[in-house]
Each structure stands twice: as structure tokens, then as C-alpha cells.
């Protein structure tokens, strides 16, 4: 069975929010829209986002790290949001593993958001239904789009190409290779939800310079050394016999 998912490379994510707004823009007018905003031009605006970047600081100055952490529905293989839904609105597609909500069946009881350990669901206060990332289901399955564009909006937008999209059940897919070779990990595996989305960790490059590498034989300072003549005075030529 196909399981579509995102692999997000934290090694290159700069937290620019391109994925956040491109997602919102595509989806608000798409199949899963609208992503309702409240008070968008006033104080304390709030609204529905399928994808958010959370930024954390870790460590103690000056040894700190800043993590930009994009988070959306992880399209779990065993999604806890599905069995708790009393109306069957929350479902997992059999053809590609994407977890979706059917708004026509949703009664806004929020059981699914309580069941989701990742906080990935967003309640639309205006329409009173639960919404969430669809992996841009209306892009990825739209055969009228060229194949290069049959990807989630966030993936196409990402300037650092930190978001890779594909089938994690296909061992040869780009996502599977990335997970395997670059230490990809799921979030909180202890919950047993088997999240499909994975994250790639930070990697550090360092340079070691040994002291003996500092000065080489062709050091340009040697060029500038003025010729030093021996000081006038006695030499062995003068005193030895």
C-alpha cells in the first residue's frame, strides 16, 4: 500500500514560513477550503492553518540552537484521530494513506483533536468543523497537472527544498532513501501512531586546523624578510689559527 508523506529536513529549514503561506493560499480556495481567518486585518488576528512553523530555542547562551520546526498532520499509519470519530468524518484513504476529514459528516465534536498527540488538527470556529493538512490531495491526485507539479504546495514553495514528498513504503523513493541514509525519525514513536511524516536531523560541519598547518614553506611573509647582512665584527677568520 502506498503511504504518501513528507520528510522535513531540519538541517536546512530556515523557518521562513514559505510553506505556511503557500499552503494557506492554495488550500483556502481548494477542495479543503476555506482556511477561515478571524479579524485578519485587526488586532489579534487568528485563523486556520494546515501547516505551522514553530520556533524553539535550546541550550544556554552562547551554546544555543534555534530550531525551526514545521508541523502539519503527520498522516499516521495508525491514526488515533480516525477511530474516535463518531460520524466517520475522519478517515484514512486506502489508496495513498492520506488522512482526511469529510466536512459534510463532521459535527465539530473535537474528539479527533483530543486524540491527536501532535496537535495537528485545526478547528474552524466559523464553519464549526475540524480541518487539517490534506497533503494537498487536490494537487497530488490531479492528473491534469504536470507530474512535476503534482506535489503539495508547501513542497513546491520551499526555497531550501527542506520538504521532500513521496511514498515511504517504496524503498527506492526519495523520501525512503532520505530517511534511511540521513537518520530520518518520526515524532514521538512511543505513542504507537506510526507517523508517516519524518524529520531529518541537524548536521554540523567543522574544520580542524592543526598548528603545523598554519605556517607553510611558501608563507608570503618570508618574501618580505629584508636581506640581513652579518654584523661587522670578528669572525673565526679573524681569530682562529
Amino acid at each position: 500500500m502506498t503511504q504518501l508523506a513528507l520528510v522535513i529536513d531540519l538541517n536546512v529549514c530556515v523557518g521562513c514560513h514559505a510553506c505556511v503561506t503557500s499552503c494557506k493560499e492554495w488550500n483556502t480556495s481548494g477542495w479543503a477550503g476555506p482556511l477561515t481567518d478571524q479579524r485578519p486585518y485587526d488586532a489579534d488576528p487568528t485563523g486556520v492553518f494546515f501547516n505551522r512553523v514553530q520556533t524553539y530555542e535550546a541550550g544556554v547562551f552562547p551554546n544555543t540552537e534555534t530550531y525551526h520546526f514545521p508541523k502539519s498532520c503527520l498522516h499516521c499509519e495508525d491514526p488515533p484521530c480516525v477511530p474516535v470519530c463518531p460520524t466517520g468524518a475522519s478517515y484514512k484513504r486506502e489508496d495513498n494513506g492520506v488522512v482526511l476529514v469529510d466536512y459534510d459528516k463532521c459535527i465539530g465534536c473535537k474528539y479527533c483533536s483530543w486524540a491527536c498527540p501532535y496537535g495537528a488538527r485545526e478547528f474552524d470556529e466559523q464553519q464549526k468543523v475540524m480541518k487539517k493538512c490534506t497533503l494537498c490531495i487536490d494537487r497530488i491526485t490531479d492528473m491534469s497537472l504536470p507530474e512535476s507539479e503534482r506535489k503539495p504546495a508547501c513542497v513546491l514553495a520551499c526555497p531550501t527544498r527542506a520538504r521532500i514528498y513521496g511514498d515511504i513504503h517504496d524503498p527506492d523513493s526519495e523520501v525512503s532513501v532520505a530517511i534511511r541514509e540521513q537518520g530520518g525519525y518520526p515524532l514521538q514513536p512511543e505513542w504507537g501512531t506510526k507517523p508517516s511524516n519524518h524529520y531529518l536531523p541537524r548536521r554540523k560541519t567543522r574544520i580542524q586546523i592543526h598548528e603545523d598547518e598554519l605556517v607553510r614553506v611558501d608563507n608570503p611573509l618570508k618574501k618580505e624578510a629584508l636581506p640581513t647582512l652579518p654584523e661587522a665584527g670578528e669572525t673565526l677568520d679573524d681569530v682562529a689559527w
Binding site: N11, V12, C13, V14, G15, C16, H17, A18, V20, T21, S22, E25, W26, S29, G30, W31, A32, Y41, F61, P62, T64, E65, T66, Y67, D95, D102, Y103, D104, I137, D138, R139, T141, D142, M143, S144, L145, S148, A153, L156, A157, P159, T160, R161, A162, R203, K204, T205, R206, I207, I209, E213, L214, V215, R216, P220, L221, K222, K223, E224, L226
Partner: protein, 754 residues
């Protein structure tokens, strides 16, 4: 709900896809706009565009919010009779009424004293047009926002290496092995830098970020070096100290391509102290560095003409010329200067431990020296030497306003340029690379006028409103040394303010210092909010009245797409369009979007019609230029020359028959030429067919070492990008600055300060 896989988004309504150029920030990425039933459905990056390669940022995707913002202005507005400025009480008027008002006012000013009209613009991407309008009007009072933004970045680097970061050059991360980013957050430029940075990290390059805060790009740095704000110059000087002390500089590069080995008079009692010792030779007057200077030959132990074949000159020491003149190589002056700037000294100022500063210097120096790149690209230098390869020292830097937007910014950035030069990284693979039309002479040729007589009634300004002074005599001051420009750019106070000083304009106009003006026209500049660093007082000054009850700044016109804070203070408001509603040209005459491999320019083509009565500011200028009879906009008989802005862009030439216009692509009658050629009536269509950009890729042998690359320089001259195919020697030592210093000491033979 319908099964999502059984529908296509493109079947919902009438869908069209159009290409244009983004303007949500100043980067100008290529975008594809999808329309549904004539309204914007969504905006994505254009995958074929050389700048963003399909990426789009958070702002770019949000362009739809700007388009449908409830704050849009839709009608020309006139402050109501009796209403006070700032009260936002306006009446809607027609464009004809607005034009009549402006025409009446401006034609009177132009006939009496053109400098009483001031035109200042914000993050204006058509300064070639706005600047030209000001020049044609005859006022020197023009600039965009650069004076409080990146001017130090442009000036500090261009006065040193003949190019600068962002639009005119940048870090070659495709080949760099060590990348040091200083004082940059998430912008300047945005998508291209993010794309390059991610690829660089994936290839295992080492990324060091020097920044007071760890945000944005710094988050993914391999090492973050926190620094106290505004102290970057001290850090760079200490690194320079350590590089010289260890001999970790590229001696060969410094000798051949910079003025490091050139001999400077070293006698404080002489009037030519600190100037290069020059020998007499016939020199064609021009804005390039004539090769009439001296080296000190190691073998002969005497002075010799620079670039004498086979000569190895000294970089250090002090010498006496045959005529007894004491001299030092420019490099020795740098060494003397940084002697006291030890890592321990800088540690105290910057908050960075001395050992870290030394390690940073060693990493830079050792990577540059030991991990050289050699590309099998043949090229010929300006002295006629053939080279079989291009060498790169793969240490790249990027810096922006963290350095630039400080009072010490110019010198900090000059210090950074010197550091990049010491490492031998200028226009070489893995280092800094230029983007056309740079490199340009140091400093570039255009000069501001140098006296008040350049401003005459009913006459274009004699010179450019903005330029590049190379000596005190280029300053734009009167006999008493007083500024001629309202913002006092190019005065003794602000000699190298090459982007003007927009933030001074309202204060100076209000004070009447150096003089009072009549009309101030602001375009996309929110001076009453964030563009003056003095929002409260700007509002007071805009509403302040003189004894007779008249506003001290008599007439304020604001052109903007939105109801900005400043709009409330306007007497007349001109509703501009958004970037999705108009034609635009990102011109080689201004700041194009060139790549390292060659010139690129781009256009905007409307994807939706203007909202309400909005009119692109470009059209406003063409209309006003025609009504006021400004020479560039009218025929000899005074009749209108250009139908509208698109017509102007196609047919305007810098002088009749010059073949140089706003757009470089598809010139010539059938679009067969580029950079230079006759106007092409189908030029807009050709841009449209090509994703709204034109990209000319230079031959490989012209892509590097362009300051001294004969092939490139002759190509650039043949295509009218530069006036002289002469070497652009890096100013490790700035004789330009010394000329101003000598003037201050009363030793300069020309102008001296009052």
C-alpha cells in the same frame, strides 16, 4: 464531500495562468499567477526563472492579501478644504483634476526654482525612471530609500572592489567551502540565498554566522558567533591583524590585482602625504585608475613602474625614492593600521573571545590557501597575459544591514571588502562574484553636479541627482561649502551618501535648512511610520505651520497603493496600482536581477486590471513629464512623445540613436540584439513569451576575474555597459578617502571645507 480525487481544481471556474515578477519584497522573483474567473486563485514561483527556480517565500505567496487588501486606495484624493493634515479628511477627485493641480504647481516651480520640488521614493524598483524624471525636471532633490538602508553596503564595497553584495554581486556558494555570513537575517536577497545556502549545507560546506541574534538563516549555521551590535568592524580588523601576522593572505592576488604594492607618499609634512606617488605620463582623462604608479622591486631594491613584467614587488617596508620621497607600499599602511587591533583588543569590544577570533581567522586563511579550486577556463588579463585556468580561494562572505545600518557602516564594510581581498576571493570561484553591470570603475563614473549653477529654471539638471564623488571637488556644494541638495547629500557633512539621504528630507524641509521647498512628492514611502526612525516628530513636522498659518512644508503629494500612515498627512493622494496590475522594468540602468554568469533583467506585465481608478505611478510620471514639457518626454515641437509607459520603455533611448534603453533583451528591430540595439516594437511580447525575464549567459572565460579580464571588459565596453576597458584595481588603500582627509587638513589643492 465530493471525493477529492474525482475533481480537478482547474475545472472550477475559468482558469488562466499568467507570468510576471514578484514585488512583495525587493528580490524580484519570477511568479506564476493562477486566476479563477478573473480573480487571483494563487501565486507560485516560476520554475524556469533564474532567480528563484520555482521557490516562493512567505511574502510572495501572500501577494493575494495585498491585492485584495481593504486598505487599497482606489481614487485620487484631495484634502478637504479646511481639514487639517493628519485628519484623513479627503474628497475624491478625478485624475484630470489631480494632474491639473500638479501641473500648475510644478510648472511654476520649474520656471522659478526647480529645486523647490523634491521627489523621494521608497523601495522603488524603477529608479532609472524616477531619477530621470527628477533630472529632467531640473531638481537635484531626488533619491530612493537607500540612504537609511543599504547605502553603506553599496558605497563601502563599490569604493573598494568595484561591486557589492545583493544586486551587484554575492557569495558563490556553488563552489565555496567556508561561508561566513555577517549581519544578515532573512532578506537581501531572500529566495536565491536560501536556495544556495541549503545546497551548500547539503554538500557539506561549513557555515558560520556572525550575528547578535540567532534567527532565520543563522539557525542552520554550523557555528553561531554572537557579537555585540555595531562592532563588526572591530572583529574584521582583528581578523585582518591575525591574517597578516600569520601570513595567511594571497600575496600573488594582492600584487597583481590590488593597489597593495603601490607606493604611497609617507611624510605628514607634505601636501601629497597619503597619495600614491605617480610619475608623469600622458593620461586620457577618464574615470579609471591610470597605471602611473610605482612598486618597490625586491631584486633591484628600487622603485619601478607597476606591473612591470617579471618584477616581484615588496608589500612591506618603508623606502626612499630616488628623489628622496619617503614611501610605503599600501599594504604596509594596512599592516601599520591593524597593528594595535589584536584579537584581545577586539574581544573586549565585540564580546567574542580572542581565541575564537584567532580561530575564525585561521579557518578563513587556511581554507583559502589550502583548498584552492582550479577551473580549466582560459582567460586573458588586461595586461595581455594568458591564463590556462581560473583559481578560486573558496571562502565566501555575505553581509547586509547588520553592518550597513550603523554610523560606522561604511568603514566596517570597507574593512570587510579588504578582508575578502586579502583572502584573494574577488570575482573568483567560491568567493565573491560580480553581477552585471558590475564591476564598475572605483568609484563609478557618474558624478553629481558640483555646484548650484547646475540647477536652472526650465532646464534639466546638469548632472545626475545621485553619483559617486572621487574627490572633494565632486561634492555638490556652493561657494560657501553649503549643500545644494535638500537632504545635504554630497555635502561636507555627508560626502559619500551615494543613495541620498531620504530620512533628512522632511526635517530639512521643515527647518528650511538649507532652504525651504514648495512641493514634496513621496512615492511608496511611509515616512510617518517606519521610514524615518522619527515617526512622531515627522508627523509633527508635516502638520507644523508658520506664523502666517501655512504649513511649513507647503504641499505634500503621496503616491501609494495603500492607506498608509503618511497618506493621512497628504494634501493630494495618488492611488498607485499593485505589482500585479502594472507594467514595470527592472532595468540594467538601475538595479537589474543579474546572475553571476551574466546580465539578467525582467519586467512585470499586468495579470489583473487596476482596481478602481488606480494608476501606475509610472504612467503618472510619463503623463506629468509630457504635460510639463520635460525634454525626454516630448518631441521637438513640444508634443507628447510617448503614448504610455509601455511605449516609453520600448522607445526611450538614453540619447537619440544610442541603442541603450530600459530593457536589455530583444533589442533591434526584430529582437535580434541584446543590451544595445534599436527599439523593438515587439519587446514586451518577447519578454512575455520568455517568462518576463531576459538572461544573457556570458562565455565561461568572461565569468570570472572581471575586474581584470580583458575579454569581459572589452565585451562590456562593446555593449556599452562600461566606458573604459581598463583594469579595475581593488582599492585596498583608498586614495579617494585620503583626498577628503587632505581637504580637511587644508592640504588639498582644490575645494576645502568651510
Amino acid at each position: 464531500m465530493q471525493d477529492p480525487t474525482s475533481r480537478s481544481d482547474s475545472d472550477q471556474g475559468r482558469v488562466e495562468v499568467k507570468e510576471t515578477t514578484c514585488y512583495m519584497c525587493a528580490c524580484r522573483c519570477g511568479i506564476r499567477v493562477t486566476l479563477r474567473d478573473g480573480e487571483i486563485r494563487h501565486i507560485e514561483g516560476n520554475p524556469d526563472h533564474p532567480l528563484n527556480k520555482g521557490a516562493i517565500c512567505a511574502k510572495g505567496s501572500s501577494g493575494i492579501m495585498k491585492q485584495y487588501s481593504p486598505a487599497r486606495l482606489t481614487k485620487p484624493l484631495l484634502r478637504k478644504q479646511g481639514a487639517e493634515r493628519g485628519s484623513s479628511e479627503f474628497e475624491e477627485i478625478s485624475w484630470e483634476h489631480a494632474f491639473e493641480l500638479i501641473e500648475g504647481r510644478l510648472s511654476k516651480i520649474r520656471a522659478e526654482d526647480p529645486k523647490k520640488f523634491a521627489l523621494f521614493t521608497g523601495r522603488d524598483q524603477m529608479q532609472a525612471l524616477t531619477g530621470m524624471f527628477a533630472k529632467q525636471f531640473g531638481t537635484p532633490n531626488y533619491s530612493a530609500h537607500g540612504g537609511f538602508c543599504s547605502v553603506n553596503m553599496a558605497a563601502g564595497m563599490i569604493y573598494t572592489i568595484g561591486g557589492s553584495f545583493w544586486e551587484f554581486g554575492g557569495p558563490d556558494l556553488d563552489r565555496a567551502k567556508l561561508f561566513i555570513m555577517i549581519g544578515t537575517a532573512e532578506d537581501h536577497h531572500s529566495n536565491p540565498l536560501k536556495i544556495a545556502l541549503a545546497d551548500f549545507k547539503r554538500r557539506g560546506g561549513r557555515f558560520i554566522s556572525i550575528n547578535p541574534i540567532r534567527t532565520g538563516y543563522s539557525a542552520i549555521a554550523d557555528e553561531w558567533v554572537p557579537i555585540k551590535p555595531g562592532t563588526d568592524g572591530a572583529l574584521i580588523m582583528a581578523i585582518t591583524h591575525e591574517l597578516i601576522k600569520q601570513g595567511l593572505y594571497d600575496r600573488d592576488f594582492l600584487i597583481k590585482y590590488t593597489n597593495s604594492a603601490e607606493l604611497v607618499v609617507d611624510d605628514p609634512s607634505r601636501d601629497d602625504h597619503g597619495l600614491f606617488r605617480r610619475f608623469e605620463m600622458h593620461i586620457e582623462e577618464g574615470c579609471f585608475d591610470p597605471e602611473n604608479k610605482l612598486w618597490w622591486d625586491i631584486d633591484l631594491d628600487r622603485e619601478i613602474s607597476t606591473h612591470t613584467p617579471g618584477v616581484d614587488p615588496r608589500l612591506m617596508g618603508e623606502f626612499k625614492l630616488e628623489d628622496g620621497t619617503p614611501v610605503k607600499p599600501a599594504f604596509q599602511l594596512l599592516k601599520d593600521r591593524v597593528e594595535e587591533y589584536t584579537p584581545e583588543w577586539a574581544a573586549h569590544i565585540t564580546g567574542i573571545p580572542a581565541d575564537t577570533i584567532r580561530r575564525l581567522a585561521h579557518e578563513m586563511g587556511v581554507v583559502a590557501r589550502d583548498q584552492k579550486i582550479e577551473l580549466p577556463i582560459q582567460w586573458t588579463d588586461t595586461w595581455g597575459n594568458d591564463h590556462d585556468s581560473v583559481i578560486g580561494n573558496p571562502v565566501a562572505f555575505h553581509a547586509m544591514r547588520g553592518l550597513a545600518a550603523h554610523s560606522n557602516g561604511f568603514q566596517s564594510i570597507r574593512a570587510l571588502s579588504i578582508l575578502m581581498t586579502l583572502l584573494g576571493t574577488i570575482d573568483r570561484p567560491g568567493g565573491f562574484r560580480h553581477k552585471a553591470p558590475f564591476p564598475r570603475p572605483i568609484p563609478p563614473c557618474p558624478k553629481p553636479p558640483n555646484g548650484p549653477e547646475a540647477v536652472q529654471p526650465n532646464t534639466p539638471l546638469d548632472g545626475m541627482p545621485l553619483g559617486w564623488p572621487s574627490k572633494p571637488d565632486d561634492l555638490f556644494v556652493d561657494e560657501d561649502g553649503e549643500a545644494v541638495r535638500l537632504d545635504k547629500a554630497f555635502s561636507w557633512e555627508y560626502p559619500l551618501s551615494v543613495h541620498g539621504l531620504m530620512h533628512n528630507v522632511i526635517t530639512n524641509a521643515w527647518r528650511g535648512d538649507p532652504y525651504k521647498i514648495d512641493t514634496l512628492l513621496l512615492f511608496m514611502a511611509n515616512m510617518a511610520w517606519n521610514s524615518s526612525m522619527n515617526t512622531e516628530n515627522v508627523r509633527k513636522m508635516l502638520t507644523d505651520k508658520d506664523e502666517s498659518g501655512e504649513y511649513k512644508i507647503p504641499f505634500l503629494i503621496v503616491a501609494d497603493a495603500f492607506q498608509s500612515e503618511t497618506v493621512a498627512f497628504a494634501d493630494l493622494v495618488l492611488p498607485d496600482t499593485t505589482y500585479l496590475e502594472r507594467h514595470d522594468a527592472m532595468s540594467m540602468l538601475d538595479r537589474p536581477i543579474s546572475e553571476f554568469d551574466g546580465p539578467v533583467d525582467s519586467v512585470r506585465i499586468p495579470v489583473v486590471p487596476p482596481r478602481g481608478d488606480c494608476k501606475p505611478f509610472q504612467e503618472v510620471l510619463i503623463e506629468l513629464g509630457s504635460r510639463l514639457g520635460l525634454p525626454a518626454f516630448v518631441k521637438e515641437d513640444g508634443s507628447r512623445k510617448f503614448r504610455d509607459y509601455p511605449d516609453f520603455i520600448v522607445n526611450y533611448e538614453t540619447s537619440p540613436g544610442s541603442g541603450i534603453g530600459f530593457l536589455a533583451g530583444w533589442r533591434g528591430k526584430g529582437g535580434e540584439k541584446f543590451l544595445k540595439g534599436d527599439p523593438n516594437p515587439r519587446q514586451w511580447e518577447m519578454y512575455k513569451e520568455n517568462g518576463c525575464f531576459y538572461h544573457y549567459e556570458l562565455p565561461k572565460s568572461y565569468q570570472y576575474m572581471r575586474n581584470w579580464n580583458r575579454g569581459y571588459l572589452e565585451w562590456a565596453r562593446a555593449h556599452s555597459m562600461i566606458r573604459y576597458a581598463e583594469p579595475i584595481t581593488i582599492h585596498l588603500y583608498s586614495e579617494v578617502l585620503q583626498r577628503f582627509r587632505l581637504a580637511a587638513q587644508g592640504k588639498w589643492p582644490g575645494r576645502i571645507p568651510p
